[in-house]
């Protein structure tokens, strides 16, 4: 069989913090996941697009998505398949509960070694934690080079990629040997939409656990079509050091959470004159708030 070039996209199901309402936080100060819709982390969608674009440029490339989370995170894998991914893995189990970025990247690195990857692409950061740590930590644990803040793969040159990075002061193009980890900025091209045919086909993609609760015709269909099988990985499947998983493997401790309250004293009153508006624009540009 022809050796495939495996691109694995790391994706996370996150609460949609862009739609924050009054009940977005619990009384304890943690995110109220029940009140926010679960979505595909936005920057991970940019990562998926970058991977799908590469798939069309590298002969024999396949794109699979790897997500860690509860059973319902299988929806992330399906969503990626609707947009063009060939399949995916769900890393799930109570052993992973309470993971901080260190434990998460450890678990993901173990899983990546297990499933095999030639290139890992992830979003820069997730909108629930905003740490931007998981991608780089995965690279460290795999011992691979990393290119962060990526916007576009400019050139595929054998086993090297030329990548444009978007930085605060401008852009730079770097070259890096494979295998590597790329983390992708939101300035990268937006992900292609779901595709109707893929949507109708892969709506039946299921994990092993999900199949247990399915009607028989779905089970039959999934068993007959390997492409509908989302690979479910439990802790034991990735042969980890259990002490580095979940809460036990997470040194991060949340000490206190505070709500940010905007004070009225920060407000500024302007008249509708052109002069005052222009002054405000100049001020905001100087503070890099806009422009």
């Amino acid at each position: 069989m022809e050796q495939k070039f495996q691109i694995v996209v790391l994706a996370k199901q996150v609460p949609d913090t862009r739609q924050v309402g009054r009940d977005a936080m619990t009384a304890e100060g943690t995110v109220n996941r029940a009140a926010l819709p679960a979505i595909f982390n936005p920057e991970d969608l940019h990562a998926l697009e970058l991977a799908l674009d590469l798939k069309s440029r590298i002969a024999g490339a396949e794109v699979r998505v790897l997500t860690m989370g509860p059973q319902r995170a299988a929806e992330i894998v399906r969503e990626a398949m609707y947009r063009g991914a060939d399949g995916g893995y769900l890393l799930s189990g109570r052993e992973f509960a309470g993971s901080d970025t260190l434990a998460t990247s450890y678990a993901l690195a173990c899983a990546l070694r297990k499933v095999g990857a030639d290139l890992v692409v992830a979003g820069r950061q997730a909108i629930d934690g905003d740490t931007a740590q998981v991608g780089p930590q995965v690279a460290e644990k795999l011992g691979w080079p990393q290119v962060t803040y990526a916007e576009q793969v400019v050139k595929v040159d054998g086993d090297r990629l030329q990548i444009r990075r978007r930085l605060a002061e401008g852009v730079e193009v770097v070259e890096c040997p494979l295998p590597m980890v790329i983390t992708v900025n939101e300035s990268a091209p937006a992900c292609r939409p779901r595709n109707a045919k893929r949507l109708m086909c892969y709506k039946l993609a299921r994990t092993r656990s999900e199949l247990l609760e399915e009607q028989s015709w779905v089970v039959e269909r999934v068993e007959a079509m390997p492409e509908l099988q989302i690979v479910e990985l439990a802790a034991a499947d990735i042969e980890p050091d259990m002490a580095q998983l979940g809460l036990a493997g997470s040194p991060t401790k949340v000490k206190r959470i505070e709500n940010v309250v905007f004070q009225a004293k920060e407000a500024k009153r302007l008249t509708a004159s052109d002069e005052e508006l222009e002054a405000l624009i100049v001020e905001l540009m100087a503070a890099h708030t806009i422009g």
């Binding site: 739609q19 292609r192 939409p193 779901r194 595709n195 109707a196 045919k197 893929r198 949507l199 109708m200 086909c201 709506k203 015709w217 269909r221 079509m225």
Partner: protein, 569 residues
């Protein structure tokens, strides 16, 4: 994060309609295609589930991509470069989004790369597109030309051209000429057989051709030299890659700016004959026009929805005298009436789409095997309804779209007259709806037979005989009273016409509209029976509107004398 399907319960309900069982059964023929296509359904429930998911996807593309581009497309418009058309940048983005989402070829058979979705879904996508950007509906919706080719083209033509639709090819239908507008029988574009090149060559001029620079076109041309009427016309398929057609100009229009309206010059343009010679207008274009009219119906209902939403939004946000203007009775009545009209005409649109769907599906089955006597009867029944209802939908939806667009600006007050709000674009876009694909006056001509031959009344009888919620009995009685009034009007007109020819023509619009108002009243009462919370208010409001409109028509018809015939000559 707008989704034009998820935020519209009425669209979602269409898939619950009892006729969907029959529609899916005819479309999917025992679900045989699941063996060959992973996206083909396995059961009725599976099919409906797929329809819903794909409509949600289409609703997202419309709500997110199209709506965001609408303003720039309207400002920019297409460009005429050399003898070709270049779409506005936003139009190009729209086409790309629809293509990537795999929505092109929605109703085409799977063997030609399509999704084999029912007409209900195709109409729905067109409605959602129009709500976002009416002009883009012209560009995308012209895919229904592919339906016509699928119906009448040869196997070879279908295999060659239909897959192009799913691959993103755009279509146009080139019918109108400077001296052949409503009177298509006067078309002059010449088609001559070239022995030398072994194909037909087209020569002449077409005007007002929507998306005239599309990849593929269906063209009406005169094959019978010396003939002067419809019987000398044939239909052709023109592939732009073969050359021979130049875009001489793009019209500068009041509205639907994004949709390029072209004047085309044909110079020895090679084309393929579709179907039989001399049947171009009589058979194929009639079918094509019916499909296009349903498309305009969808475009109009989408325009109604857009106008209604803009008006509701502004009226709830604009405060005067210390409260939102929606709370003033004058504005409240306008908004409620706009909603009732939108709901009424949408009910009529999807009812019609189901009729067209069933008879066309049966016709397609009939090409594969002999239909049973029952099936033939069923086909005839729905064909008759479809022919009567299609012009009625076109008439009402396009007129309502204009009324709603007018009212939407009125509710915005002075702000609505400025370029700052979408309602001014909607107003300009709406104006063409009651003109193209046959003016409202032409729709009346097409629909009047349904009135005088009883098609509509029989359908109303059938509707009236259905079960209604107990609480709707007072409304039902009022509807039944209107029914008697309309019947009397028709009979009176008939009688007058027998004495003096011309009364039926004089009152045709009043009769057709009365029947339409009545139909929509019953449809809304039926809908209220199953979904009271969604339809109840609109049903009551529409009933009152219909009563007033029918009373007005009755005054004119019942008081009509011979003098009228001369007065309006």
């Amino acid at each position: 994060m707008a989704n034009f399907y998820l935020d519209n319960k009425e669209l979602q309900l269409q898939f619950d309609h009892p006729l969907m069982q029959r529609i899916v059964a005819l479309r999917e023929r025992d679900f045989v295609e699941q063996e060959h296509y992973c996206y083909a359904p396995q059961s009725f429930d599976d099919a409906i589930d797929s329809y819903r998911r794909v409509m949600e996807l289409a609703g997202e593309v419309c709500g997110e991509v199209l709506a965001a581009n609408a303003e720039s497309v309207d400002r920019e418009g297409p460009r005429h470069i050399g003898d070709r058309v270049e779409y506005a940048a936003g139009t190009q983005r729209n086409l790309k989004a629809f293509h990537e989402a795999g929505l092109d070829g929605l109703s085409m058979p799977r063997c030609f790369g399509g999704l084999n979705f029912p007409l209900t879904a195709f109409v729905m996508v067109n409605e959602m597109i129009a709500r976002a950007d009416a002009g883009f509906q012209n560009v995308w919706g012209l895919q229904d030309c592919a339906e016509t080719l699928n119906e009448f083209g040869s196997e070879e033509q279908k295999e060659r051209y239909l897959p192009m639709t799913a691959e993103g090819a755009t279509w146009s239908m080139a019918l109108t000429e400077p001296d052949a507008g409503s009177d298509l029988g006067a078309v002059m574009l010449k088609a001559t057989w070239s022995e030398e090149r072994g194909c037909w060559l087209l020569n002449g001029v077409k005007r007002f051709i929507t998306n005239g620079d599309g990849d593929l076109s269906l063209v009406l041309a005169r094959t019978e030299a010396g003939s002067t009427d419809a019987r000398g016309l044939s239909m052709f398929l023109y592939d732009k890659r073969n050359g021979g057609v130049k875009v001489r100009r793009i019209e500068h229009k009041l509205g639907i700016v994004g949709s390029p309206t072209c004047e085309l010059v044909y110079t020895d343009a090679p084309a393929e004959l579709v179907g039989d010679r001399r049947m171009g207008l009589i058979k194929y274009v009639m079918s094509l026009m019916n499909a296009a009219r349903l498309g305009i119906g969808a475009q109009s209902v989408g325009t109604c929805e857009a106008a209604l939403r803009e008006a509701e939004k502004y009226a709830s946000e604009r405060y005067q005298f210390g409260k939102p203007i929606s709370q003033f009775t004058a504005i409240g009545e306008m908004l409620a009436t706009m909603r009732a009209k939108t709901q009424g005409v949408r009910a009529l649109l999807y009812e019609t789409a189901r009729y067209v769907e069933i008879y066309k599906s049966l016709a397609a089955v009939g090409k594969e095997r002999t239909l049973t006597a029952e099936e033939r009867q069923e086909m005839k029944y729905y064909n008759r309804l479809a022919d009567a209802f299609t012009p009625l939908v076109k008439l009402f939806s396009s007129e309502f779209a204009n009324e709603l667009a007018y009212d939407a600006i009125q509710i915005h007050g002075g702000s609505g007259y400025m370029k700052d709000y979408p309602c001014e674009r909607i107003y300009r876009d709406a104006r063409i709806l009651s003109i193209y694909e046959g003016t409202s006056q032409m729709q009346v001509v097409a629909a009047i037979n349904g009135v005088t031959k009883g098609t509509f009344l029989e359908e109303i009888d059938r509707l009236a005989a259905q079960p209604y919620a107990e609480e709707l009995q007072p409304e039902l009685q009022r509807a039944n009273a209107m029914y008697e009034q309309v019947r009397a009007m028709i009979a009176h007109c008939d009688q007058l016409d027998q004495q003096h020819k011309g009364f039926k023509e004089l009152h045709a619009r009043r009769l057709v509209e009365s029947v339409g108002h009545l139909l929509m009243t019953y449809l809304l009462l039926r809908a209220t029976t199953t979904h009271a919370e969604l339809y109840r208010t609109s049903a009551q409001i529409y009933l009152r509107l219909a009563e007033a409109k029918i009373a007005e028509a009755a005054t004119r018809v019942m008081n009509s004398t011979e003098e009228d015939l001369e007065l309006y000559q």
